[in-house]
Symmetry: C2
Subunit: 550 residues, 2 copies
């Protein structure tokens, strides 16, 4: 591994220098990327200073060893908190002011309300009204409902976002309009960054479907129930000030206490903190697309033929149509052989809950309930447990359970011939998605990406991904509708599948099949300006995201 320092201006910002330097408009001093850049172990050019702080370039999987100590919050005293436990403050504005809302601080929120969140924007409405500037927003993810943040990014209320920048926020970022540099982290990386002191949260605002006046809170009860609150765990543990916002205040104790009131400074009661129908999507269904069903069938068959399914195995599948359909195939196999999965990782949904209730799965370890059945099951079934990025994903921990999962089914926007994969940018170069837990789950024992060979006549397998989010060495199998490619590093899987009836091909073969149909795709055009970075699970900088040349 060598981190070669390169010139910052119009040098090759990626291995593929052609794509860059095509636009020259630099309409501001690049505050966010003023220092030198280096080529990291993934061969990507990344900045060494991010928003004024030094950053370590990616060194390879498991290569960077952290030195130092976890962040140490100030010691509090009960003498400074009400003896009757009542921390209720009349309004969010008052709570924010008491918590020390001021220029330049970091405010965090969580995304368990997904596109039904009514709180994050309110915080910045208040900050804007008070004339506060240069805030850093540290959400665990953002959604289309957060589009109003673009106006606060424009007027300087928010300097930059460290967290997913989806949809409108992604476009805004890709166009170079955000003042500071965006930082994309996985769910586990977000916990790691807070734990390690890379990100200091001044004020955490935790929207909670149920809470008591002391600040104990959970997401399983109440009219805006959203399941767990794990994405806010680090925030509660490490932020200077913690504000709970709820629309369902109950007398102490609020049990289960997914968030402990012992970490909480203030509690605010509002009429409504989320839009329930947008929190859980009741419409997540298995796919009806013949192509996707084929991907699901082949993925499941691959798992079975490779011996990955056994009595007591474990799996993680998302809530997408293909992943859900794979779960159906797994169910059939388990039922037929009278086997059980020891555990499944959620995002839970009605299909996974059905497996639990039928006894095909012993435990669901769940970071996010995706539908009402998921929420009900987590509330009522002790075998359906909420997890947090600490238990599941934090890489700077004495292990985490992502590496214990046998089969992990994931998506990707692009994969390259070295099995590197991208989930944040599209092939046109635009930042459009967050990382979620995707990077963290790559540590599973067999990582399978069922993806279409092309989307809108744009091949998904490329010479090089636009942005590396996952190093190829952790991605084992690509399942497409025209064949399955096994990572050459997995000689064990290649050996097991050598007599398979499934269409096993090389990834180069898959790529050329796609290019035969769609042609060789055009490369995205970028300026030499970095607008965001992708962190690896250990806090190092895996890749840079470049301003799109428009």
């Amino acid at each position: 591994m060598s981190n070669k320092t390169v010139k910052a201006h119009c040098s090759a910002p990626q291995q593929d220098s052609e794509a860059h330097c095509s636009a020259s408009q630099h309409d501001r001093a690049p505050q966010r990327d003023s220092a030198s850049r280096v080529t990291n172990a993934a061969g990507r050019i990344v900045p060494t200073v991010i928003n004024g702080k030094p950053a370590v370039p990616y060194m390879g999987v498991g290569k960077y060893k952290p030195e130092g100590f976890r962040a140490a919050p100030k010691i509090a005293s009960c003498a400074d908190y009400p003896a009757d436990g009542n921390k209720v403050i009349p309004s969010l504005k008052e709570a924010l002011l008491k918590a020390g809302l001021r220029d330049g601080i970091t405010i965090s929120t969580h995304h368990h309300f997904r596109n039904g969140d009514l709180i994050a924007t309110q915080i910045f409405d208040i900050a804007h009204e008070l004339g506060i500037k240069d805030l850093m927003w540290y959400p665990s993810a953002s959604f289309p409902c957060h589009e109003p943040m673009t106006k606060y990014l424009e007027d300087g209320t928010i300097n930059h976002i460290e967290g997913s920048m989806n949809g409108a926020l992604g476009k805004f970022t890709s166009e170079g309009k955000m003042k500071g540099l965006g930082v994309l982290r996985s769910h586990g990386g977000r916990y790691q960054a807070v734990q390690d002191g890379e990100v200091h949260i001044d004020i955490a605002v935790i929207a909670a479907p149920t809470a008591d006046p002391f600040g104990d809170a959970n997401g399983v009860n109440g009219p805006t129930a959203c399941g767990p609150l794990g994405f806010a765990l680090a925030d509660s543990q490490y932020a200077d000030k913690v504000i709970i916002v709820t629309d369902n205040l109950i007398p102490f104790p609020c049990l289960p206490w997914q968030i402990n009131g012992n970490y909480v400074d203030y509690v605010v009661v509002l009429d409504k903190i989320g839009i329930p129908e947008k929190i859980v999507s009741g419409t997540t269904e298995i796919t009806k697309s013949p192509d996707r069903l084929l991907l699901a069938e082949w993925s499941a068959k691959f798992c079975d033929e490779a011996g990955l399914i056994y009595d007591g195995f474990s799996f993680q599948a998302g809530a997408g149509g293909t992943a859900l359909s794979i779960g159906i195939y797994f169910s059939e196999i388990l039922r037929e052989r009278k086997w059980k999965a020891r555990f499944a990782r959620g995002g839970s949904n009605k299909y996974l809950v059905k497996m639990l209730e039928e006894g095909l799965v012993e435990y669901i370890l769940d970071g996010q309930t995706f539908d009402l059945d998921g929420g009900r099951s987590m509330r009522d079934n002790p075998h359906h447990t909420w997890t947090s990025p600490f238990t599941s994903y934090n890489y700077h921990s004495k292990g985490n359970f992502s590496s214990m999962v046998d089969i992990v089914i994931l998506g990707a926007t692009e994969v390259d011939v070295n099995f590197n994969a991208n989930v944040v940018t599209h092939s046109d170069g635009y930042l459009l998605h967050g990382i979620g837990g995707w990077q963290n789950t790559l540590f599973g024992k067999c990582v399978i990406l069922p993806i279409p060979l092309f989307r809108d006549r744009m091949p998904v397998i490329r010479d090089q991904v636009t942005t590396i989010c996952g190093p190829g060495e952790l991605i084992d199998v690509i399942v497409t509708e025209r064949g399955i490619a096994i990572n050459p590093l997995r000689t064990d899987l290649i050996e097991k599948m050598k007599n398979s009836s499934l269409p096993i091909k090389t990834i180069e073969e898959l790529k050329s099949e796609a290019e035969k149909i769609c042609g060789v795709p055009a490369k995205p055009k970028f300026t030499d300006e970095v607008v965001a970075v992708v962190k690896w699970v250990d806090g190092t900088v895996l890749d840079a995201i470049w301003r799109v040349a428009t």
Copy 2:
């Protein structure tokens, strides 16, 4: 508050100088108490250096404000832990060696197994066998089963204990035989000390009735089920190395995970980690003693007349016979008026579980199950929740719930005319008990001590307690079989009870009644050597315990 520095030698180690300096045998250099002493805000003379570290004298309730930051453990990396999550090591000895067992370190254990613990002694057997010296043992409590530790204190394997020194260990300490200075902390103070970095645990050994190879653990399942594992929470979070010892290893995931494997380094499987019948005492019964029944009846009646019992109130009562009987009276009142207690604090037992199951109590928040019904209920009833010293008692937190409890029933070995109370030493000066959660619960809204006026013809109410464990301002009511004394600070209670049929008296009246019967008790005789200190919930030094003059 003034902390006056006084001479260390044969000065008045307490207000009552007569009791001291009566013995002069100083058979060793007092390593444990070589520095200056001061008089603290409770009027007690305490050392300012404890086992080589500076200590802050008690400054009054809520007066000491901590500066600084929580202890910051080293950042770990998953790269250093097995990807398959299997941390099992063949033997405790091997685990201790891998964890860095060496001279002078601190080893912690928990006491959920109470007198049935089979692990703590084994650790020091191994250390002794290896010739390791000068260890500090940091148990959350000790029991008679730990008497073998005296030989390791004698031979230098253990330098000193910070934790309760009951029975034989207390006698050993009181006789000046322990090399270092004993430090007594409440359960909350123990958490606080670890959190604040006052005590650094090098190796935590957590005996767990059920665990998985990753180190997730709980106390609710398995042949040695003991209920919660909360007393080991701080140890898991802050120790350099954490060893789980179990006799019931199950496949991942071990749910509920009261201890998270993410904090754990090694897992050891032994045949038996505790003696079940000594873990839970199946014999805890309500009192049959007419005197104690009277205390119970008067205590309950006092609560009712003073308006402390209402629909939605909360209480904490221990597992002693008197406290249990008070619970029965509370039940009758609640049943009759169709009221419910919102929550009760355990130590749980069959009587409390019955209240929960009958619907007289909505929630049990439980730090320790005292019998099999308690254990069963915690395992199966989501309204019976395990707690930890962090949630319940940590004073250096943003509040804790001990101050939200309406009625707290406690015991004491002595009370003085200023309502100061003692729970650690007897009137003969010997250290015989630990503090447990006693200090922490003093923050409840009304603290009632039902105690006999004398024990073995020794009056319990004194001019001055032998050792102050609880400042009088936090103790509200003393109930004896000859009358009830209300703390003069509680003018509200005095007002409410002015027409009571109960025999309300002053504490001086109660004291002189006892002395009329038993005579004025002799004072214990001490040398001028400090053998242990009692910490207050905020880490300051509340009192010193002196070597008994023999």
